[in-house]
Each structure stands twice: as structure tokens, then as C-alpha cells.
Symmetry: C2
Subunit: 271 residues, 2 copies
């Protein structure tokens, strides 16, 4: 998907919502467990009930890999289902990969050629040649971890460079934005750091940001949009648990639809 189609979808739906498919056998409605492929059946329902309100779907690979071969099958079926039924929706493999150049090339092949995702998340520790192979695909995207939403973000990401005075995440933004463009590169910036979005926008004024950590209640949404939005919005805001695990009964489709709609309604006021 290219930049302008993504922006078009965002404006048409008046939504920046990404639904995180962190699908876990221990958390999905128990009545699904008797089906042949409970994870795929769960995803299908969630996708169908939230597609009108969201612009992106983001399976986190860890949940699928933890089930081995069966999990990989569920993932393949899920991405095919989205691509066939909702080709306008942006798809993100939340994989946090990254390796030496030749090996990152194989990861790009895995997620872009084989699975046909639009985007993949990548950790920046190994530098340019770990990220560049993902940029060689037309209309595909790499989403680089900049400032994550977890406690461990404070361990290394705020380290301040002796010479430039810049913190590691700022250095990552500054360097990597030279390797790609706003047409093929985005950044992960946690919503728990919403106050920092202003500073981040000085370094990457136009790139899309993928923002995890927004609750179903939309608590930080104002701060995120106020500090982080561009003229094209430039934000993809993820919610996982608040939507997909909002209910565990036979009515879960309806409840997750309501939760997605609530968030989209919150977002619509910024359009």
C-alpha cells in the first residue's frame, strides 16, 4: 500500500485505529476452542466486526509462533483473509525482526513476498544494513522501533550521546530517517510517552507513527493527537486487549465491534 492510499483510507473512515491481533488460546472466548482452528476463527470474527472502524490490523508474531506450526498456519490464513476481503486495510506484521543485511533480506522475503503484509516492525540495534533490505520493496513499509511503551524503554532508549547530546531514540529517528522516506518508513512511539511526541515531530515531521498503548477508554488519545498529528494525520493508533478481549461470551463479536466503534468515534472528532 502506498502513502496516499493509506491517507485516503484514514480520511474516508475518519479513523486512525489499528486492531492488534494478539490472539491467545488462553484468552479467546472458550466456546471457540472446540473448533478446528480457534485462533483463525477468532481472528475472522474480530476482523469482520472491526473492519469498518479500523485502518490497520496488526498480528503480533509471538502469539502465533508460540503455537508452532499450527500458529503459523493460523497466521497465514489470517493475513490471506484480510488481503482477500479487506484489501484496503493496512497490514502490519509486528515481528520486531532485524539481522545482518543478507539475513534481514530473508525476513523481508518472509513478510512481504511470502505472507504479503504491507509492513513489518524492526528493532534498530543492528543499524542500517538490518533495516535497508525492507526498503527495497515498492509500496511496502518498515516500522522502526524508536520509543517503546514498556518499562524497559528506560534501560537504553534514553541514553544520551556524549557528543551530540541526543538520546538513543532520537539518534535512531535521525539516522534512520535518512535511510528511508515517509513513503516507506514509520516509527513505533508508545502512547505512554505522549508528551514526547512534540519533540519527536521535530525530528520526523512527516513520517507515520505507530502508537501502541492506548486503552479502550481513549485516555491518552487527546495528548497523542495534539502532539503527534500531521496534516495527513500521520498516526496509526493501536488497541489490542481493549477491543479483542472485551468479552468472552458468544456475544464477543458485537462487543468488540462496539469497542472499536467507540474508539473510532473518539478519533472522528479530530477530522
Amino acid at each position: 500500500m502506498n502513502y496516499s492510499d493509506l491517507v485516503k483510507q484514514i480520511n474516508a473512515k475518519r479513523s486512525m485505529l489499528c486492531v492488534g491481533l494478539d490472539s491467545d488460546l488462553n484468552k479467546i472466548p472458550p466456546h471457540l476452542l472446540k473448533l478446528d482452528d480457534p485462533i483463525f476463527e477468532f481472528n475472522k470474527v474480530i476482523i469482520d466486526s472491526t473492519a469498518n472502524y479500523s485502518v490497520a490490523f496488526k498480528p503480533n508474531l509471538a502469539f502465533y509462533e508460540s503455537l508452532g506450526l499450527e500458529g503459523w498456519k493460523s497466521l497465514e490464513k489470517t493475513i490471506s483473509y484480510i488481503n482477500e476481503r479487506y484489501p484496503e486495510i493496512f497490514t502490519i506484521a509486528d515481528a520486531k525482526r532485524g539481522d545482518i543485511g543478507n539475513t534481514s533480506k530473508m525476513y523481508a522475503k518472509a513478510f512481504f513476498d511470502k505472507l504479503n503484509f504491507d509492513a513489518v516492525t524492526v528493532a534498530p540495534y543492528m543499524g542500517k544494513d538490518s533495516i535497508s533490505p525492507f526498503l527495497e520493496y515498492e509500496n511496502k513499509w518498515v516500522i522502526v522501533l524508536a520509543l517503546t511503551s514498556n518499562q524497559g524503554a528506560f534501560d537504553f532508549q534514553f541514553m544520551k550521546d556524549e557528543y551530540t547530546g541526543k538520546q538513543l531514540f532520537e539518534q535512531v529517528l535521525e539516522s534512520s530517517s535518512q535511510w528511508g522516506t515517509k513513503e516507506n518508513m514509520m516509527y513505533v512511539v508508545g502512547a505512554t510517552k505522549a508528551e514526547m511526541l512534540k519533540e519527536i515531530r521535530q525530528i520526523v515531521p512527516e513520517h507515520f507513527l505507530l502508537v501502541p498503548g492506548i486503552g479502550a477508554q481513549g485516555g491518552d488519545l487527546d495528548a497523542v493527537v495534539e502532539n503527534g498529528a500531521t496534516k495527513d494525520k500521520g498516526l496509526i493508533i493501536n488497541s489490542s486487549r481493549g477491543i479483542i478481549y472485551a468479552d468472552k461470551t458468544e456475544k464477543f463479536a458485537l462487543i468488540s465491534e462496539l469497542k472499536a466503534m467507540e474508539l473510532q468515534n473518539e478519533m472522528a472528532k479530530y477530522f
Copy 2:
């Protein structure tokens, strides 16, 4: 596998050799391509012909994921084959994973419970809670990226902290060595940075180091061992292409055995 069994194996074989199973359909001997599962058949031959000379096998996940479901099947068969036939050999999932705590837990489940690897490589960008879940498994290991062997290592890993004067990779070593012990944590340190091993040994005097980047000719082996060895050796030295792609004919088993033997012979002189 625990620390003392690993050391025992190293001493018994007088080897620190790890064979990297970066198995690629475009590089394996072409006569294998007509078989049902060429990647697994290739791995089986490489494993059998090098097991006497090596202490570890390390499939890099990217190569398997790039083949989709078929690749994941080949990986499962490969790790099962090693565990059944060579239970004394240390197995490393070179996956370079890492996510927020709850998600890293799922990766630990994938590689330790589901696939039964001894160790998994992890990128440190997301800090403590991305690494800790791997440490909760008894006799399993996390191998943290410290100083990688690629050009991109220079982009961020050498950034110097304003307050402590330490470089990022030193900070990673120092912090993370507080989270685990020499019994459940190792570090990736590229052989291309052999001269830095002395400095690294001041921070982590006893942890095992996984050292990629040694050629078949054993060029840097002296420097690596001289600067990096502990009393228990404390080194797992990887070679991939130099061994597994040394020959593409029907004789590739013999040639890869010879290459592994050559490297083991080089290593034996340090015992």
C-alpha cells in the same frame, strides 16, 4: 542444557565450534532440490557430518521463515532431529527476538517449550522486561546482542553515554549481566571486533560469548581466543557459509565434514 554440561562437551570435543544452519534453497547442492523437503535433507547431512567436531548448531530463523509454512516444518524437523540424535549438542535459535514482557514470554514459549531449543538470541533495544521472560526457564539460555559483526554495528552500538562515558554495547553488557547469570545468559560479540574482546571481558569476565564472523580459514581465531577465552573457554564460535556451502556436489557431506574438522583442529590447540 546447563553450564557444566556445556563446558564438559567443549572439553571432550576440544572444540568451540558452532555450525550455523543458514540453509537457503538457492545455495544448497542442486541435486537435493528434487527431494520432498530439501532444507531438512540438507540440514540432516550437515548435522551428521559435522556433529563430531561441533558443540552447537544454530539455525537462523530468517531462512526458514522466508519459506513460510514449509520452512517452519523444516525447522521443527531439524531441531527434533538434533535433539533426538545428538542430545549433547547445544542448540541456538538465532531469532533476534524481543518485545514487551508479556509478548517476550510468548517467544520464550515458542523457542523453549514448543521447539525445545537450548537458547535464543534476543535484541536488547526494549530493555529488561523484553529479556527477563527468557530467564525464567531452567537450563535454558538467552543470548543478548552486544556487539554485532555487521557494518550497521557502528550506527548505534558505539554511542557513548554522556554521564558514564560508556558505549551502548558496554551499557547493554553491564545492565543485562545484572538480570541474568553466566548460567543462563550469553552475549553475541562479532569476531570482526576481536580486539575489543579484552575490554568486553572486563565487564563480563565469565559469561559465554557467541562469536559469529570466523571464516573457514580460521583467520581471526587466535585473536578471538587470546582476548576472549575464560578458564572454561567461554566461547562458542560460529561458522556458517564456510562449512555448509563449501561444496555443492554430491560430495558436500564429506567436504563440510573436512571444513568442520579443520576448524576443530585449529581450536584443539587451545586445549
